[in-house]
């Protein structure tokens, strides 16, 4: 399965937030640690609601958490 064309900075944001653990983030947005790990490794694209919740936890705009990798057009 191809990775979704979306990258994220959750790992860095967690580091900046006093090394917040994946479990802490998962608990704060009502997900499992495994789902956070899958999002962080770009193996699963979260819903818009979950994306907003993640951004809210770090207090940043959603665009600072997720970035769309535009496909090259010929």
């Amino acid at each position: 399965m191809a990775a979704p064309p979306i990258s994220n900075t959750i790992r860095r944001l967690r580091f900046d937030a006093n090394e917040m653990t994946q479990q802490d983030l998962a608990d704060r947005i009502g997900m499992t640690r495994q789902t956070i790990a899958a999002i962080e490794q770009n193996k699963y694209s979260p819903s818009l609601e979950a994306a907003f919740r993640i951004a809210e936890v770090f207090g940043v705009p959603i665009g600072d958490v997720f970035q769309w990798k535009a496909e090259k057009k010929d």
Partner: protein, 152 residues
């Protein structure tokens, strides 16, 4: 490994071992031309499955209140939905195939049990339906495991 993935592993292994044994016994009963005790074995296997599933899941969880009480998150719901879609189609096709195979099945089972051909045929058709349902559940759990492993 998440609680739901552990749950899928436990269900798969329990199903393979317990129901593998049961269907081996069904085949053995056909070979021996005797269905005596088959119903008892079915209830025993059902009971063992329940006990193993509850017991192993209790052992596998770290935080019982959180793991057993928590609803699935969106990723787990997505996996559940895709597995359910496959299961729905597979179950339908298996039951349709079984319905089509019933006349053929009766030509094999009925002559092997001359004392009660209709009863024996009914028992083996019921077990064939059970086999289809167990196989479907096994496929569902395997889909869960594969999807969880792909995201790990």
């Amino acid at each position: 490994m998440s609680f739901r993935e552990k749950n899928a592993w436990i269900a798969s292994i329990t199903t393979l071992v317990v129901w593998g044994y049961y269907f081996f016994e069904v085949w053995h009963a056909f070979e021996l031309r005797s269905v005596d005790g088959l119903l008892t074995r079915f209830w025993i296997c059902l009971g063992i499955t329940g006990i193993l599933m509850i017991g192993l899941n209790l052992l596998a969880t770290r935080n019982r209140l959180r793991d057993f009480g928590a609803p699935p998150d969106e990723f787990e719901r997505q996996i559940e939905m895709s597995a359910t879609t496959v299961a729905h189609r597979l179950r339908g096709w298996l039951l349709l195939g079984l319905a089509a195979a019933c006349p053929w099945l009766s030509t094999i089972v009925a002559p092997a049990f001359p004392a009660d051909p209709a009863g024996a045929t009914a028992i083996f058709i019921a077990n064939a339906i059970l086999f289809g349902l167990v196989l479907t559940e096994l496929v569902v759990e395997l889909i869960h495991i594969v999807r969880f492993r792909m995201a790990a």
